[in-house]
C-alpha cells in the first residue's frame, strides 16, 4: 500500500484543458498552476492572503490560490489570466488595462484582472459590498464601489487610478 503521505491524483480543468497531476497534499493551487502546469501568469506576491496577486477563478468565483490546496480543488473548473482572452482577442478588461495604463511593473495585473472579471459578475448578480446600502434596490457602479470591491488586490506601484478607470471602462463595454 502507498504511504498515506504519497502523492494524490488530482485533475484540474484549467482554462478548458484537463490536467492530470500527481501532487503532495501540501501543494497549493498557486504552485500547481505555476510549477506543475507551467501557467506562470498567476503570481505569488505574499503567499499569505494579503495581496491578491494569486487571484484565480474557481467555477467563476474569485479566490486566493495561495491558500487553496490543489487537492481540495480536484475536479473543479479553474480560470487563470491565460484563459480570459478568446478567439476575438483580448478580454475587454485586458484591453482596458492597456488603454488606461492600469499597471506599472505588471506584477499585480493578472490578479487585478481576474479579480475584476469576477467582481463585475458579483456586482451584476446584486451582491452587496461593505459600502452598499443594504436596502437599496439598484447599486451604482461608483468609484467607491469599485475601490471597496477591489480592495483585496494591492498594487505596490500604486497604479490604482488607471486600474479604476480600466475597470469602469470595461464594465461599460461588457454592459453594452
Amino acid at each position: 500500500m502507498d504511504s498515506p503521505l504519497a502523492a494524490h491524483s488530482v485533475t484540474l480543468h484549467v482554462n478548458g484543458r484537463e490536467h492530470k497531476l500527481q501532487l503532495e497534499a501540501r501543494v497549493s493551487l498557486l504552485d500547481a498552476l505555476r510549477e506543475h502546469i507551467g501557467l506562470t501568469g498567476t503570481k505569488k506576491g505574499c503567499n499569505q492572503g494579503a495581496c491578491g496577486a494569486c487571484t484565480v477563478l474557481v467555477n467563476g468565483e474569485r479566490i486566493n490560490s495561495c491558500f487553496a490546496l490543489a487537492v481540495q480543488y480536484d475536479g473543479m473548473k479553474i480560470t487563470t489570466i491565460e484563459g480570459l482572452a478568446d478567439a476575438n482577442g483580448l478580454h475587454p478588461l485586458q484591453q482596458a488595462f492597456v488603454k488606461h495604463d492600469g499597471f506599472q511593473c505588471g506584477y499585480c495585473t493578472p490578479g487585478q484582472i481576474c479579480s475584476a472579471a469576477a467582481m463585475i459578475e458579483e456586482f451584476r448578480g446584486g451582491a452587496p459590498s461593505a459600502v452598499t446600502e443594504l436596502e437599496a434596490k439598484d447599486i451604482e457602479f461608483s468609484d467607491l464601489e469599485i475601490q471597496e470591491r477591489m480592495s483585496g488586490n494591492l498594487c505596490r506601484c500604486g497604479a490604482y487610478v488607471g486600474i479604476n478607470e480600466a475597470i469602469r471602462d470595461a464594465f461599460e463595454v461588457l454592459s453594452r
Binding site: Q48, F67, A68, L69, Q72, M119, A130, T132
Partner: protein, 331 residues
C-alpha cells in the same frame, strides 16, 4: 509546510470518524487561516480532513422564525443572502467589512468561528507566546501591543479575537451547533469563545472531538434595526482596532431593547451587558449612550500602546447608537 495526510470527507459522520481515528487531525474549511498557520508551522497537523464537500452549505428557515446557517456556508454567500440582509443586517455588514472578496468566497462559517488571533507574537515563532507554546511567556504584554486587548485579558495573554462575523453574532445571541462523541449540543455564541485566563492556548469551548455543524440565528425582529461599525488603520482589508455591533429599539424616545457587542478589544467578542442594562428604558440620547459606554469601559485595562482603544471604543459605541436612534426618529 510539513506534509500531512489529506482525507476528503463526504459526510459529517465520515469526517467525525476520521477525526476520532486520527491523531492530531484538523478540519479544513476555506483554508484561509489553517493553511496560513501551517505554512508558518504554528499549526502542524498530521492529518487534514477536508470538510468542504459536506452538505452543510445551506441557509434554512427554522420553525420559530430564526435561520440555520450551515457550517460550510461561505462568508460571501452568508452576507449576500436576502434573508440575512433583511433580518440581520448587522451580520451582513460585519462580514462584508472583513477580509477581502476573495477571502470571503473561501472562508466558511465554521472556520470563521475558529480563526485564531492575529497577535504578531503568536505568528512569530521566535517570540514567546503562551497561546502557541503554553508556559513560554507572553512577549506582547511588555512588547508592541497596539492591537491587543483592553478588556478581559490575563497575565498570561492579551490577544484579541479577530473576527467581525462573530461580533455581530454575539449581538444577535446566535447559537453554535456541534456534534461530537457524545452526540449533538448547542453552545451560545457568547460562551463559545473563552477569555484567556491561565489557559490561553484554548480559544474556544469546542471539544477536540467535535465538529461545528451550523449556527442558529434566533427569531429577532429588532435585529432589522441594527448596525456594524468597524474602525481600522485603512478603509478596507484590515482587521478591526475596535468594532461595534448594535441593535436598538426605541419607542416614544425611550430605549426598549439594546444589544451591544465589541470587537478588537478582547479575547472573545465582547458582549457589553453592563451597557445594555443601563440603556434599557432610558431616553435615546447622546448623554445616555455616553454614560453606557463609560460604564462598560470602566473595567478597561489598557497596555502601553493601546490606551487609545478605550476612548475609541466609547466614541464608536456612542456614534453607532446615535445613528440607530436617528433612524428610529425618522420612522
Amino acid at each position: 509546510m510539513n506534509n500531512f495526510v489529506y482525507i476528503r470527507a463526504e459526510n459529517s459522520q465520515r469526517a467525525l470518524n476520521a477525526l476520532w481515528e486520527t491523531n492530531n487531525a484538523k478540519f479544513l474549511g476555506g483554508g484561509t487561516n489553517l493553511v496560513d498557520l501551517m505554512r508558518e508551522r504554528i499549526e502542524q497537523p498530521d492529518a487534514v480532513i477536508d470538510i468542504t464537500r459536506l452538505p452543510m452549505n445551506q441557509i434554512t428557515e427554522l420553525p420559530d422564525g430564526g435561520l440555520r446557517v450551515g457550517a460550510l456556508v461561505r462568508n460571501s454567500h452568508l452576507a449576500a443572502h436576502p434573508l440575512i440582509r433583511d433580518r440581520y443586517r448587522v451580520l451582513s455588514q460585519a462580514i462584508l467589512m472583513g477580509a477581502s472578496a476573495q477571502l470571503r468566497n473561501m472562508a466558511t462559517t465554521g472556520g470563521n468561528l475558529m480563526q485564531r488571533t492575529r497577535c504578531y507574537y503568536f505568528y512569530d515563532s521566535a517570540a514567546r507566546c503562551n497561546k502557541r507554546t503554553p508556559g513560554s511567556g507572553c512577549d506582547a504584554i511588555d512588547g508592541f501591543n497596539r492591537i491587543h486587548a483592553i478588556l478581559g485579558a490575563s497575565s498570561q495573554c492579551v490577544a484579541t479575537h479577530p473576527s467581525d462575523m462573530c461580533v455581530a453574532m454575539a449581538a444577535l445571541d446566535a447559537v453554535v451547533r456541534v456534534t461530537g462523541k457524545n452526540g449533538e449540543r448547542s453552545i451560545p455564541i457568547t460562551e463559545f469563545h473563552r477569555l484567556p485566563s491561565d489557559t490561553p492556548s484554548q480559544d474556544t469551548n469546542l471539544n477536540p472531538d467535535e465538529l461545528i455543524t451550523a449556527v442558529d440565528l434566533p427569531n429577532f425582529p429588532d435585529a432589522r434595526k441594527s448596525l456594524y461599525r468597524k474602525v481600522r488603520d485603512r478603509a478596507s482589508y484590515a482587521f478591526a482596532l475596535v468594532s461595534v455591533a448594535a441593535v436598538l429599539d426605541v419607542k416614544g424616545g425611550r430605549i426598549q431593547n439594546a444589544r451591544l457587542a465589541l470587537g478588537g478589544v478582547a479575547h472573545r467578542p465582547w458582549r457589553a451587558t453592563a451597557a445594555e442594562q443601563f440603556l434599557l428604558h432610558r431616553p435615546a440620547e447622546e448623554k445616555t449612550f455616553r454614560e453606557a459606554a463609560e460604564l462598560e469601559l470602566q473595567a478597561a485595562k489598557p497596555l502601553a500602546h493601546n490606551g487609545f482603544k478605550v476612548e475609541l471604543a466609547k466614541r464608536t459605541i456612542v456614534d453607532v447608537l446615535m445613528e440607530l436612534a436617528g433612524k428610529a426618529e425618522v420612522q
